[in-house]
């Protein structure tokens, strides 16, 4: 820090309230005081307790405390590989071909069986035991030619799966007794689902590689995470569970992760509102978000009591379109990147 006696700094230091009053919430202050008493080893100065008792009647702006739920569906499939990763893994496989011990054929295929014949024929064809590295002989004259050319399909995961499945099919067809029936093994499901193609953002089957979050739309048209005020004698976790039940229905198998909020959002109203029943002036809302995971089921707003009209399952970037910028800025670092 500089040593300059800056005018602005001096003004700031006068105006700035003490840390004990503003930065620490009331319950934390009490905890601090209690813990200090509990540890008898540390000498207790009388100041913190007195300041805690004096700060109590000082009424700052009052906020409505909301409990929100970041209900998420974790990624269902592995992510797509980049071109570099594909090329890297493929090249490592070809290197492995000449560095690993050779395949012990007769430990797996008995001599003279149809399986053995089939294996020999295939290895002669592709010149190697591995099925997913294309035609490459690691011990031949052209073993140095182990890199793929531009546009080659051998390193694609789809090519690898197809190569394995077609190999299994041809083995089954060549070794089976009746030649009339053709064995066919089902191909892996596509990584892009129907819901992705249709753009159905309400489906949980969309964007399988991403973490999806439940967003709900209020009757006024604002998008938000499910949230509602915390009732008296209720922890944030319980309030979050109740909120989820009241907004998205009970037809979901969910799991709340921990008891601590992962993020919070402070909304300052333009004009402080006064609650008629209690007479407390509310400066805005503070929403604390608990993290949740959905295991099964689907959101259903038909029986909601929170004035919601629509819901969507969205990934992190897609949310920016729907949420208000300050809301998104407050929440975005708590969301999973993938």
């Amino acid at each position: 820090m500089s040593s300059g006696s800056n005018g602005a700094r001096r003004v700031a230091s006068i105006l700035r309230p003490s840390i004990a009053e503003q930065r620490v919430c009331k319950s934390c202050q009490e905890t601090l005081v209690r813990r200090n008493y509990a540890s008898a080893a540390t000498p207790i100065s009388p100041k913190p307790s007195s300041s805690a008792s004096t700060t109590f009647p000082v009424v700052g702006p009052t906020y409505t405390i909301n409990a929100g739920v970041l209900l998420s569906r974790p990624p269902q499939i592995t992510r797509d590989l980049t071109d570099f990763e594909k090329a890297y893994y493929f090249y490592q496989k070809r290197l492995n071909e000449r560095l690993a011990l050779p395949f012990t054929k007769y430990f797996y295929f008995k001599r003279g069986t149809p399986l053995d014949e089939d294996w020999k024929r295939k290895v002669r064809e592709r010149q190697t035991a591995a099925r997913d590295i294309g035609k490459y002989n690691a011990y031949g004259q052209e073993a140095w030619n182990d890199e793929l050319l531009v546009g080659a399909k051998e390193s694609e995961p789809e090519y690898i799966a197809e190569a394995l499945i077609s190999d299994a099919e041809s083995t089954a067809n060549n070794t089976s007794q009746d030649t009339s029936k053709q064995e066919s093994i089902p191909r892996p499901h596509p990584r892009v689902t129907e819901a992705d193609k249709k753009g159905d953002t309400q489906s949980l089957d969309r964007a399988l590689q991403r973490t999806l979050y439940l967003l709900v739309q209020s009757k006024e048209g604002y998008w938000k995470f499910p949230s509602s005020p915390v009732a008296a004698d209720e922890t944030i976790r319980l309030a979050a569970e109740r909120t989820l039940e009241q907004s998205a229905g009970v037809n979901m198998n969910t799991f709340m992760v921990g008891y601590h909020p992962v993020s919070h959002y402070v909304y300052n109203a333009r004009k402080p509102k006064t609650d008629e029943t209690t007479g407390v002036t509310l400066a805005g809302e503070k929403t604390f978000f608990i993290k949740g995971r959905i295991m099964a089921g689907q959101a259903d707003l038909s029986a909601n009591t929170q004035n919601l009209q629509n819901f969507k399952w969205l990934a992190k970037e897609e949310m920016a379109k729907y949420l208000l910028p300050p809301y998104y800025a407050a929440i975005k670092n708590a969301l999973a990147d993938r």
Binding site: M1, R9, C28, Q92, A100
Partner: protein, 354 residues
């Protein structure tokens, strides 16, 4: 830094009325590097455009017409092999020798082990889902200004009641000499994860009968783990088990790291564990109280691995070994390790001892 500091305080401490209303909502006077980065279209835009991540810009036609094998054959005079293929020296003769072998990460090194062959499924699940959940679950809220109460030192000093206490090394903790691992609060940089897996098999017939049992055990362990096993001799003498120190190799062990470990774990969890008959799960009391969980598999359970199933007949009857599988995690206590493993899907039963 010094110039911006007072203005920051000023901004915070000024009454709301002075600050323009439009700014107070979202913006603040501080500027972050991350804010500006977010404004850019993509994080990759800073990198060079023809980098590795973007793929090559070579036209496909040019690539199709390029045939490296034909080019090599068309050369009139072939290069000698030593001109294009570097061979690492067979011996490491020390740092001062003129011919040093390349580092083990170099593909031409004799020690090179080809690296991961796929982006591991288990690792991705850990990264995308489990790690952040564990971080949330293990969070302990300490208010700002909180200082943890001072703890007694882990090693006790000697009371200088005797002159012989001078310069003695410190005493161990009360109730046993074992100094447990220190559990640090779990933060973003020490989230528990799977570190390595050890598959160990004690073959009791290897000492009693012949070494064939150990060979079969080694083959079975290698088949299920993709790793060459190491054998171990007995260290103790037990007359009933026919073992004496250093006489016979009686155990085989495979140690799995990295990709092998993740593939083995995925296979164990998704295919083998559900097929175990009447298997209640891993016992809740298992663990060495420093974050490593062990469980055992019977011989007939080891036979359920798809690698052994595929050529079950090749293993002599009754010679497939049972084994102990230890899941080593970077967690410091069993409780954290169990949290990690149950998040990954390993079932636990019975009383949980932490």
């Amino acid at each position: 830094m010094a110039a911006s500091e007072p203005s920051r305080y000023l901004a915070r401490s000024l009454p709301r009325a002075i600050v323009p209303a439009a700014r107070s909502q979202g913006l603040c006077w501080r500027r972050h590097a991350s804010d500006q980065a977010a404004a850019k279209p993509s994080a990759l835009s800073d990198l060079e455009s023809d980098g590795l991540l973007k793929g090559t810009t070579t036209p496909v036609e040019a690539a199709k017409s390029f045939d490296p094998v034909a080019r090599a054959r068309a050369r009139k005079t072939q290069l000698p092999r030593s001109r294009y293929q570097f061979r690492s020296p067979k011996y490491d003769r020390g740092p001062l020798h003129p011919h040093r072998p390349p580092p083990p990460s170099d593909p031409s090194s004799r020690l090179f082990v080809p690296g991961p062959f796929s982006l591991s499924r288990v690792d991705q699940t850990h990264e995308s889902t489990i790690a952040s959940d564990i971080l949330t679950l293990c969070y302990v809220h300490n208010p700002p200004g909180f200082k943890p109460p001072p703890k007694a030192p882990r090693l006790r000093t000697w009371d200088d009641s005797s002159p012989y206490h001078k310069n003695r090394s410190l005493r161990g903790p009360r109730g046993g000499d074992v100094l447990r691992l220190l559990r640090k609060p779990i933060t973003f940089n020490n989230i528990p994860k799977l570190e390595r897996i050890t598959i160990h098999s004690y073959v009791k017939n290897a000492a009693k009968e012949n070494s064939g049992w150990l060979h079969v055990a080694g083959m079975a362990l290698q088949a299920i783990s993709n790793v060459k096993v190491t054998t171990y001799r007995s260290k103790t003498s037990v007359a009933k088990w026919y073992i004496s120190p250093g006489r016979d190799a009686v155990a085989a062990k495979a140690e799995l790291h990295g990709e092998d470990m993740e593939h083995f774990f995925g296979k164990l969890l998704d295919i083998v564990m559900p097929r175990l008959k009447d298997w209640p799960g891993v016992k809740g009391t298992s663990g060495d109280s420093s974050g490593n969980i062990t469980f055992g598999l019977e011989p007939e359970q080891v036979a359920l691995f798809p690698e052994i199933e595929v050529n079950y007949d090749m293993y002599p009857p009754q010679m497939i070994p049972g084994c102990h599988i230890t899941l080593h995690t970077t967690a410091k206590t069993d409780k954290d390790a169990r949290l990690l493993l149950s998040a990954m899907g390993v079932p636990f039963y019975g009383k949980l001892v932490d």
